[in-house]
Amino acid sequence: MAKITKKDVQPVISKLHLTLQWKKEVRRIVEKEMKDISNSFIKSFMDHPVTKEIKEGPNGSNISGTLGGYSNLFGFIGFHEGDNPILPLENLFKKYSIRIYSRRGNTTVNIEIPTLQDAYAISPMPWASGRSWARGIEVGISGLGRYLAIDAANSRSGEGIQVSKKVRGGTYTRRGYLSPLFKKYKDSIQKLKNQFK
């Protein structure tokens, strides 16, 4: 019986990779799997305690534990009442693009997703637009926001106070937020890409 070697099938594989049908099928698989990966990433973002707490607005409780159970991140950061700081991130995270290249028997899948820097750029602190609150969650966040509401009645978050006495020491505790979520997201995408190497 004749033995078929890799060398024998290589020309066929090379030609197969060049066919439109192959590319279409790869795209179909990648799009389907990428949609699942993206949905899973967005779900993990929306289910994160920090996201949930901020989404709850000025009346939420400190479920993230970042403030020792007191107050809430929405007021601590100093958002305006009615703000939805999560929405721009959610919209950003839904974006991705897929490109497929086939050359000489190799198929390369290129998936572009937003970066952490993109996320930081669209999550400005309400009182210092060059700073990102999303990054601040991980590296430490100033409690200035809660003190900067001019008076309780006109408070941006509905619960601020004007400072007249000594300011209490900061009690914010850092925790992982977007970085670990992004790492997991990227790892999943890499696994998907590796399937076509």
Binding site: S129, R131, S132, V139, G140, I150
Partner: protein, 286 residues
């Protein structure tokens, strides 16, 4: 306790920040003023003459800046060492041995930093909301001495927020990721934009890991003559440690919004400079 990594880091960061701002931003002004006698209860064995400004430029690597080494006393030149003269660069004043005539007319030419630089352990809330700073304006100064010791604005307050050692290579090498920041108080928007611009461009800059003993000033605020017999020169000092550096991987600058500024003294403009600094090191080695 011996000086540890964080001691050395903060000290090195301070020296770099101070010098970089003056070299890249030419952030200094040169004045010729009188010095005014006053009594300082903390230094009773010295005769003190203060200038209207504090934090004189001491770094000779700053092009064009005048580092005060001598003054004129009743028309005669008085150099460092004469009558025990020392220059307190930190507090902007001259110290003489007791017995020096307090009625001497002293004047001198010197450069002053546009921004005083301080190491701070206070958080932003305390710095911005509690801080009551005397303004040491570079533009409209009453011609009398400025009180020593208190922190004055315009100023930059430096602090290290935290260090995170991330495994980097086999053999115990870590990437120490340091989050440092400067809270800046400026007199006007031009000044604030200037300092923010200088440090926004410091991204991907390296600075030397200078030993703790490299701090240029002694307890009187004068240059340590035994360490720096020919004067303190930051770039010269840093070149001695060019194989041991920190790298600034990310810098973000931002301004305190006008709306938020309402809670401040209206004359102050506040900005923030956040640095992410990396250093590859072996934290567990002896």
């Amino acid at each position: 306790m011996k000086p540890t990594f964080q001691h050395q880091l903060l000290s090195s960061f301070y020296l770099w920040f101070d010098s970089y701002l003056m070299r890249k931003g030419e952030a200094y002004e040169t004045f010729t003023t009188n010095f005014y006698y006053y009594a300082d209860e903390r230094i009773t064995d010295k005769v003190v003459f203060g200038s209207p400004y504090k934090q004189f430029v001491v770094d000779e690597s700053v092009d064009g800046a005048v580092v005060l080494e001598a003054v004129s006393g009743d028309g005669t030149a008085i150099s460092k060492g004469t009558s025990g003269m020392m220059v307190d660069y930190e507090n902007g004043r001259l110290l003489f041995d007791s017995g020096f005539p307090t009625g001497t007319n002293l004047s001198g030419r010197y450069s002053v930093k546009n921004f005083n630089t301080y190491i701070s352990n206070q958080n932003e809330e305390q710095l911005i909301l509690e801080g009551k700073y005397e303004t040491n304006s570079r533009y409209t100064r009453e011609l009398t001495y400025i009180k020593p010791y208190d922190q004055v604005t315009p100023a930059a307050f430096l602090s290290v927020e935290g260090v995170n050692n991330v495994p980097f290579a086999l053999g115990g090498e870590d990437d120490s990721v340091i989050n440092a920041k400067a809270v800046v108080f400026a007199e006007n928007l031009y000044e604030l934009d200037g300092i923010l611009s200088v440090f926004a461009d410091s991204n991907h800059t390296c600075f030397a890991n200078i030993p703790f003993t490299g701090a240029p000033l002694n307890e009187y605020g004068d240059v340590k003559s035994d360490h720096y017999p020919s004067g303190y020169n930051y770039t010269g000092l840093a070149n001695n440690y060019h194989n041991d550096t920190y790298m600034i991987d990310n810098t973000t600058v931002s301004k305190f919004s006008d709306r938020a500024r309402r809670v401040l003294e209206p004359s102050l403009y506040v900005g923030f400079i956040d640095f992410e600094i990396h250093k590859y090191r072996f934290p567990r080695s002896t």
